[in-house]
């Protein structure tokens, strides 16, 4: 099996609300620390791709509308890009 496919097929559980909130807080910290970069959204996405396990990225896409409404503008754009794959 292709390892990447394997990762996707295993990630079936829905993360808890507490865990989603924790991940969103982590994402916000990344966004805050990249805000001076020329393209903060791209920088954050690249950071997530290089350092975050796919489960964590997938968990972010499970954030519901109410949770996303609390996110910063940069984080919201990152989430949209993650949703789009």
């Amino acid at each position: 099996m292709n390892p990447a496919e394997n990762l996707r097929s295993e990630a079936v559980a829905v993360p808890s609300a507490a865990y989603r909130a924790r991940l969103l807080a982590m994402l916000e910290r990344v966004c805050a620390n990249c805000r001076a970069e020329p393209d903060p959204v791209a920088t954050v996405l690249e950071h997530l791709r290089r350092f975050w396990h796919p489960w964590l990225r997938q968990a972010l896409t499970a954030l519901d509308a109410q949770e996303r409404a609390q996110a910063s503008e940069t984080a919201r754009q990152v989430l949209e890009r993650l949703d789009a794959g």
Partner: protein, 924 residues
């Protein structure tokens, strides 16, 4: 003579010119400034001596090394007489011999002549010199002995001082002054009544002595002697190996009697320590043979069942069966491992290989996650390599030394001693630390600037220093133009010049007076050679990686990279944490810091291992634990790390471990994490294995087996068996074969082999075709990444701030006598110096809370609470408290929050808002 000793009498002098002279009819060449004693020794001519040692400046007091120089007057001491061109020296004339015998007679007249029953019998320089000089009688009458009957000072748990056997050569006093810099010893009294004294006569334990052992090492008689040698007799053989405590990586001779380690003696040839040691490495090795060591594998069905002793085959088969079951049920990503930074490079390499090749994922991490992962991230991004830039010897060339968030005299004592020596020679010191460490005010050492910042504000302070450098014209424009990226520098210069980064603008945030910041910045930037040394006070923050990059920016902007005396130097905590990172025990990097998404790097490993490697990063340790609570991560193999005591937010950690279906702990002892384990695999101590460690200066040193593994297997053998049981073929017969594979697959290590290490003693990576003898200083001509990259270091305040309920900030650290979670040092006599964690609190804060010295206090954070005894101290600034985490009962890490570095998830150990209250009815 110590088994591992090879002393030429006085220090080497590296004069440019060579001097030619004649000694005892032989033509000898030596560098200008070399002593006659050393020049003769190098030529194989032995001159008797007692007060001289190559680790000490010449003293000329014993008068035993007298020589005759043609054309010269009298009989000068050869230790204090430098070589000169054309000099003709005689070392063994009848007159010289007569004089030496007279001197020796005087020594012996006040010495107990009990050689046959003396603990130094056969290891005594006085005995050896008396034989060499040929004394046959003592003309002085009995009754003149001034030191006879003086009491033995046995207060130190590791060594005794028997003044009766002391010849007052002052080697111990000079070793304490010159090598360790403690100035704890002196010669009190005059003439025949002169005697070595610790402190003001209160004995070694009560004095300022830090038990580094330099005095014991220097003593030529049995006056200062290890208690184990007194009790057990002299060792019979020695094995040279590398210390398993901190990241300094000291070389030691393990001296044994049969299979029993009797003493560890620092190796003068060891390049990291040059013959020096600390109380842990020198003396605290008893844990290795402590009765608590587990000697058989243990298995149990659930964590509330008792352990069952089993054989290795059953234990390994059980783990393999469980891990395969978990993966079959929950998926390939449901298991992972933590490699130990205490284990060898070869052992760590095998664990990450086990994970990638047998587990089929990248879920591998190591303790750098909770200490220096921000260093790896920050230095890779700015310089191109995840390691410090210098060797330790570089500090000898520094004119200004900036120590940030590090306490080397406690946590890296041997390097700390070297740093203090440089300060005594005149280097200026800047300390950035919320706490008044030993470097700020010490014997003959004083920080010119102590920037006692509020915890959590490192980035604001370093940005302010950079602002001063940029706006006051202190940038090394030439260095930046030649060595760094023009565009990233231009962006950074504009960013940092913004008035919001001015010292005055951040003064309220950092708590440091703007003028102090400006002065320190000017001092750093205007030095010929300015070096930065930093520790966990930089990395264990919500902006740990940003702080590392701010440090790198400062060094590049001022041109302090690429030559001796400068650089960016992380003081790494564990003996092999640098190596664990080098070996790819990270979820995102293969050995040699190559990202798992790099198809070329992956292909090399895939071809060699015969597997497919995932291109996606694995789970970091905190995410393994979080995913365990979420129910997706089910099994973990933990090699030599006590997660249940060392991680932050311990209640969460305990719950995560409880949630897993198979926890495998491989360790020396049943540690706190073993409470949650289903399988315990007994590991081997550093005395029981072959391999290599890599220290904080990238130095790869051999670890050599001195005694057989108490439980039968070295750690690499355990991992290999587990890999085999899980279906991945591993068939190494010796760690040298593992190193050969590392060299084949890792560019920075491609020139490393055990044969090379035997030849050179040690080597600093990169060691390859370009640098066959290693690389003491990195980034000399160009940065590893090509041009240095400036990163914008926006200050983002931590969310962990004092509030109405929790008014104080807790920060944590270590003390000299204990080590990390204390697994090793708690099982030694080091408890005599530190037997419990205490809470340091400023007198103002103590008074406001009715707290007195020794009171029991309750400390509460938003994560939990614990109780400690109070130590009222001005070492901490008002508004902050400090403690250590050496004892499980303290539960210090229960208090630490789930906050972490934004880039690496290194926990924010250094900033915890707490409420501190005196426990009613529990005064001291």
């Amino acid at each position: 003579m110590r088994l591992c000793d090879d002393d030429l009498g006085t220090p080497a002098r590296l004069g440019a010119a060579t001097v030619r002279l004649t000694i005892d009819g032989r033509t000898v060449e030596a560098p200008e400034g070399t002593s006659l004693l050393r020049a003769a020794a190098q030529a194989g001519i032995r001159i008797p001596r007692l007060c001289a040692s190559e680790r000490l400046e010449p003293f000329g007091s014993c008068r035993l090394c007298l020589v005759q120089i043609e054309g010269g007057r009298g009989y000068p001491a050869s230790c204090t007489t430098p070589v000169a061109e054309g000099m003709v020296v005689h070392t063994h004339t009848p007159r010289v011999t007569e004089l030496r015998r007279g001197v020796m007679e005087l020594y012996l007249s006040d010495h107990p002549l009990d050689c046959l029953t003396c603990s130094a019998n056969g290891d005594c320089e006085l005995q050896e010199m008396a034989a060499l000089v040929g004394v046959r009688r003592i003309r002085y009458p009995a009754g003149g002995q001034k030191h006879a009957g003086m009491p033995v000072d046995g207060s130190n748990p590791y060594f005794a001082f028997d003044a009766e056997k002391c010849i007052v050569c002052a080697r111990c006093v000079r070793a304490c002054d010159e090598i360790q810099g403690s100035f704890a010893l002196t010669v009190a009294g005059r003439g025949f009544a002169a005697a070595v004294t610790a402190g003001q006569g209160e004995g070694f334990l009560g004095s300022e002595c830090v038990s580094c052992g330099a005095c014991v090492q220097a003593c030529p008689t049995a006056a200062l002697m290890e208690k184990r040698v007194i009790e057990e007799g002299l060792p019979e053989r020695a094995v040279v190996t590398t210390c398993a405590y901190c990241g300094v990586g000291c070389s030691f001779g393990v001296e044994l009697k049969g299979e029993v380690p009797v003493r560890l003696v620092p190796d003068g040839r060891g390049r990291a320590n040059e013959g020096h040691s600390c109380v842990k490495g020198r003396f605290a090795f008893g844990y290795a043979t402590h009765p608590d060591r587990v000697r058989s594998p243990l298995v149990r069905g659930s964590i509330d069942e008792p352990w069952r002793e089993v054989g290795w085959d059953e234990a390994i088969a059980h783990v393999a069966t469980e891990f395969r079951r978990i993966q079959a049920r929950y998926g390939r990503e449901a298991i992972g491992a933590v490699a130990s930074s205490r284990c060898t490079n070869e052992e760590v390499y095998l664990v990450q290989k086990l994970v990638r090749a047998a587990f089929g994922n990248n879920n591998i991490d190591n303790c750098a996650r909770v200490c220096h992962s921000p260093t790896g991230y920050g230095l890779k991004r700015t310089f191109g390599e995840s390691a410090g830039t210098q060797d330790f010897a570089s500090v000898d060339h520094a004119d200004v030394i900036m120590v940030i968030g590090a306490n080397p005299t406690e946590a890296h004592p041997v390097f700390g001693a070297r740093l203090k020596r440089r300060l005594r020679q005149g280097a200026r010191l800047i300390v950035i630390d919320p706490r008044t460490t030993g470097l700020v005010h010490g014997p003959h050492v004083r920080a010119e600037y102590h920037l006692a910042l509020r915890p959590g504000t490192n980035v604001a302070l370093l940005n302010a220093m950079a602002h001063v450098i940029v706006t006051e014209g202190l940038v090394d424009e030439s260095f930046v133009a030649q060595r760094c990226e023009a565009d990233s520098f231009a962006r950074w210069r504009a960013f940092i010049a913004d008035p919001r980064h001015a010292p005055e603008a951040v003064e309220a945030e950092t708590g440091v007076a703007a003028e102090q910041v400006r002065a320190a910045a000017r001092r750093y930037a205007s030095a010929d050679n300015a070096a930065i040394y930093y520790g966990l006070g930089v990395t264990e923050h919500s902006q740990g990686a940003t702080t590392v990059m701010a440090i790198a920016n400062l060094a590049m902007a001022t041109g302090n990279i690429g030559r001796p005396g400068v650089g960016v130097n992380p003081l790494r905590g564990q003996n092999n944490v640098q190596g664990a990172c080098d070996m790819g025990a990270f979820p995102h990097e293969l050995p040699g810091y190559r990202h798992v998404s790099d198809p070329v790097a992956r292909a090399a490993f895939e071809a060699h291992w015969g597997v497919t490697i995932s291109p996606e990063p694995g789970l970091r340790l905190p995410h393994m634990l979080a995913e365990a609570r979420e129910g997706r991560f089910k099994g973990i193999y933990i090699q030599g790390e006590d997660l249940a005591q060392s991680e932050p937010d311990l209640e969460h950690v305990h719950a995560a471990l409880e949630a897993m279906e198979c926890v495998v702990v491989q360790d020396l002892f049943l540690n706190e994490t073993a409470r949650y384990a289903h399988v315990f695999l007994p590991g081997a101590s550093f005395l029981e294995k072959d391999g290599t460690f890599t220290n904080a200066e990238r130095r790869i040193s051999r670890v050599r087996r001195a005694i057989p593994p108490l439980a039968g297997l070295e750690d690499w053998e355990i991992t290999q068996r587990l890999a085999q049981a899980m279906g991945h073929s591993m068939a190494y017969s010796h760690p040298s074969e593992i190193m050969d594979e590392i060299a084949r697959l890792t560019p920075q290590f491609s020139g490393v082999s055990y044969a090379l290490l035997e030849r050179l003693g040690s080597v600093q990576w990169p060691c390859n075709e370009e640098a066959p003898h290693g690389t003491p200083l990195m980034h000399r001509e160009r940065f590893v990444r090509g041009e240095g990259s400036f990163v914008l270091t926006e200050y983002v305040p931590t969310s962990e701030r004092p509030d109405g309920r929790r008014e104080l900030l807790l920060t944590t650290g270590r003390v000299l006598a204990q080590y990390n979670v204390g697994t090793q040092t708690r099982r030694t006599a080091n408890g005599v110096w530190c037997s419990a964690d205490v809470l340091e609190i400023h007198p103002q804060d103590a008074e406001a809370r009715g707290i007195s010295e020794g009171d029991e206090v309750c400390i509460e954070s938003r994560m939990g609470q614990t109780r400690l005894r109070a130590r009222v101290s001005e070492r901490v600034r008002p508004g902050m408290v400090f403690t250590t985490f050496h004892f499980p009962a303290s539960k210090t890490n229960v208090l630490v929050t789930d906050g972490s570095d934004w880039a690496t998830n290194c926990p924010e150990y250094k900033v915890v808002a707490v409420r501190v209250e005196r426990v009613a009815g529990a005064s001291a």
